[in-house]
């Protein structure tokens, strides 16, 4: 221990003595960490927005359905009224209420929208207008092209997308007939009138999703009080695992009629898109850190070669190979620790100072930015979390550790007798 204190003193003073080199290496590491912190905070912010938009349009952060529904999309795999009551009871009782922002029951069916001019395949969603208005936000001002969103008391009304309206030649007040297979397996039709037209910017959404009042859908499809999905929107996507766990426990494993799904399971295409984006994020981080690691290896290795004689002297004075390597390794780790901490503080501070209210990249885009059926917000608000701090520090420690190993190894390969002849 005493001997290590001496090695630590040597390493510390060497870092200070070669301050230009240390500064250069430290800067490379620090910039790497700053870039990582910025990428993570902004990236996580973008993902949260992305998930939020995606789950609002689909079935929430958590979706409760019949186990087969997500595969079959058929009414025979629906939540019966008692099952639905059990779900609502579990939502109340399992201690998840504080994480829940909205709960919306839905009856969803695939069908056709027919007008005198054409017929288009659509996804018809029977929704509770008062709950759904805040949930999917299809009727908000920036999406509303004309008319209004559904309201409680509406019966034979429909809220349709702009592309569907164009294809079916519909305007406000136009009538269209929705046809789908009802609970008995018969084809049933329902006449509705356009009460509002929306535009998300995602062609698939604007052409295919039709909202009608839940009661109308239930009556038309002869399902009584049954629904297909209880969509649950949480206050934060980070709460999903906790809510899932509690809700599953609350529902009981034996309930074969019900399955509690995360948005990743219920909306696999959104999950895949985010995983793909994460993958490229990791590739960026890895490339960034390889560059940082090479800079560290290069400068520390140069320093080892430059100080060959010094290491020879240390060995001549009685240091073992391992101790000589420890000096070099410790130098690398001192730089790593200092640069890592400064980088993290700087990264979080700069991101917070510049973009805490959001990074607006709308100027760089023409029209909406869509990905995987989701319209992305052009203002990304970074999110700051402890896990990012741990991950950023952890990453630079791993990089610093790996990058210091080779120079340390090289220091052990010095021939002591030859080192004495070495002229830097």
């Amino acid at each position: 221990m005493k001997r290590y204190a001496i090695l630590l003193r040597l390493a510390r003073r060497n870092v200070v003595r070669h301050w230009r080199r240390s500064l250069l290496t430290g800067m490379a590491m620090m910039l790497g960490v700053v870039a990582l912190v910025m990428a993570r905070t902004i990236g996580d912010g973008a993902h949260e927005d992305w998930i939020d938009s995606g789950v609002r349009m689909s079935s929430g952060h958590v979706a409760v359905q019949h186990p087969e529904f997500r595969f079959s999309r058929k009414l025979e795999h629906r939540l019966t009224a008692p099952a639905r009551e059990r779900v609502f009871a579990a939502l109340e009782a399992s201690g998840v209420a504080s994480h829940v922002a909205q709960v919306a029951p839905r009856l969803e069916v695939m069908g056709l929208a027919n007008s005198p001019t054409a017929a288009v395949p659509v996804r018809i969603m029977g929704v509770a207008p008062d709950l759904e208005a805040a949930f999917s936000q299809l009727g908000v001002e920036q999406r509303l092209v004309e008319g209004r969103y559904l309201e409680p008391g509406d019966r034979l009304h429909a809220f349709v997308g702009q592309r569907l309206a164009q294809r079916l030649d519909l305007t406000l007040g136009s009538r269209l007939v929705l046809t789908a297979q009802d609970a008995a397996g018969d084809i049933a039709g329902q006449l509705v009138r356009v009460v509002g037209i929306y535009r998300t910017g995602v062609p698939e959404v604007d052409e295919s999703i039709v909202h009608i009042p839940l009661a109308t859908a239930q009556e038309w499809l002869a399902v009584g009080d049954d629904i297909t999905t209880v969509a649950v929107l949480l206050t934060s996507a980070w709460d999903v695992p906790r809510v899932l766990r509690r809700l599953r426990r609350g529902m009981g494993e034996a309930d074969v009629e019900v399955v509690v799904l995360s948005w990743r399971q219920a909306t696999p295409e959104l999950d895949a898109a985010i995983k793909l984006d994460d993958f490229w994020g990791y590739v960026f981080n890895v490339v960034l850190f390889i560059i940082v690691a090479l800079a560290i290896v290069n400068t520390i290795l140069m320093s080892v070669l430059y100080r060959t004689r010094e290491f020879g002297v240390l060995r001549a004075l009685g240091l073992t190979k391992r101790e000589t390597a420890t000096v070099v390794f410790t130098e690398g780790m001192i730089l790593t620790a200092v640069a890592g901490m400064v980088g993290v503080v700087l990264g979080f501070s700069v991101t917070w100072l510049l973009w805490r209210n959001g990074l607006d990249y709308s100027g760089a885009l023409e029209g909406e930015l869509t990905f995987s059926g989701v319209v992305l917000d052009t203002v990304v608000v970074p999110v700051f979390r402890r896990v990012q701090l741990i991950m950023s520090l952890g990453s630079i420690v791993v990089v610093g550790l790996l990058a210091s190993l080779y120079p340390a190894y090289r220091a052990t390969r010095i021939d002591v007798a030859e080192a004495m002849k070495f002229e830097a």
């Binding site: 005493k2 001997r3 001496i6 040597l10 003073r13 060497n14 200070v16 003595r17 004689r309 010094e310 002297v313 240390l314 060995r315 001549a316 004075l317 009685g318 240091l319 073992t320 190979k321 021939d415 002591v416 007798a417 004495m420």
Partner: protein, 236 residues
């Protein structure tokens, strides 16, 4: 001077390979250096002085033959054992001083004591006495870059003799110094040899150093051509 050998070598050979050609730097050297001797190894460049010194100090292993320092056989020692031997029984003085630039004069001098785990009080007392004895008292807190060549070499000598090693090996210690400084340094080492009984083995061209030798070993082409003990003590 004791009759106990500080160094013993038996048919030591050191052969280097350069581009497939074997170069015999040391050829069958057998020596016995007694504790407290002031020995000078002289010879022209390439005669094998430095190589033999490196072999004696455990910095390089002989190709053949055996070496004992203070009774310990170097040729059978592990790397760790050699490091321990260098720490506890051998001191080095190099031509280019080779002080550690990040340590002060005092820290350089006490380095081996630090590694040996000697207490701070004892280290400071021993180094202070040495600095007083070799005329560099007051320079303890200076870094090597703030010392003259002569002062640096004195600190290097202090580092080599501190902790009473069995043997101090000095490779051309005066080569980078002017005449007056060299004379003062040699007088100081002769004094240490006389007063502390430290065994010195030098490799040098310096005639002033050869004059002070109690024993002169002349090497030619890696072999001992002359081994002469002199009546004159190693005094100034």
């Amino acid at each position: 001077m004791s009759t106990q050998p500080a160094v013993r070598t038996e048919s030591v050979w050191k052969v280097f390979e350069h581009d497939g050609i074997a170069v015999e730097a040391v050829r069958g050297v057998s020596l016995e250096i007694l504790a407290g001797e002031f020995v000078v190894m002289a010879g022209p460049s390439g005669s094998g002085k430095t190589t033999l010194l490196n072999v004696l100090g455990g910095l390089t292993r002989p190709t053949r033959g055996r070496v004992w320092i203070d009774g310990a056989d170097l040729t059978t020692m592990s790397e760790r054992g050699l490091a321990r031997l260098r720490l506890e029984r051998v001191g080095f003085v190099f031509q280019a001083y080779n002080l550690l630039p990040v340590l002060t004069a005092l820290e350089n001098a006490e380095f081996s004591l630090l590694l040996r785990g000697v207490s701070e009080d004892e280290r400071r007392r021993e180094v202070s006495q040495l600095f007083e004895r070799i005329g560099i008292a007051g320079l303890e807190d200076r870094r090597p870059s703030k010392l003259s060549g002569g002062q640096q070499q004195r600190v290097a000598v202090a580092r080599a003799v501190v902790g009473a090693p069995a043997l101090v090996l000095a490779d051309e210690p005066t080569a980078n110094l002017d005449t007056a400084t060299s004379v003062a340094l040699l007088d100081m080492m002769a004094k240490l040899n006389r007063e502390l009984g430290t065994t010195f083995v030098f490799a040098t061209h310096d005639p002033q150093l050869m004059e002070r030798a109690q024993r002169l070993i002349r090497l030619v082409d890696g072999a001992v051509a002359l081994d002469e003990r002199r009546a004159a003590p190693a005094s100034p």
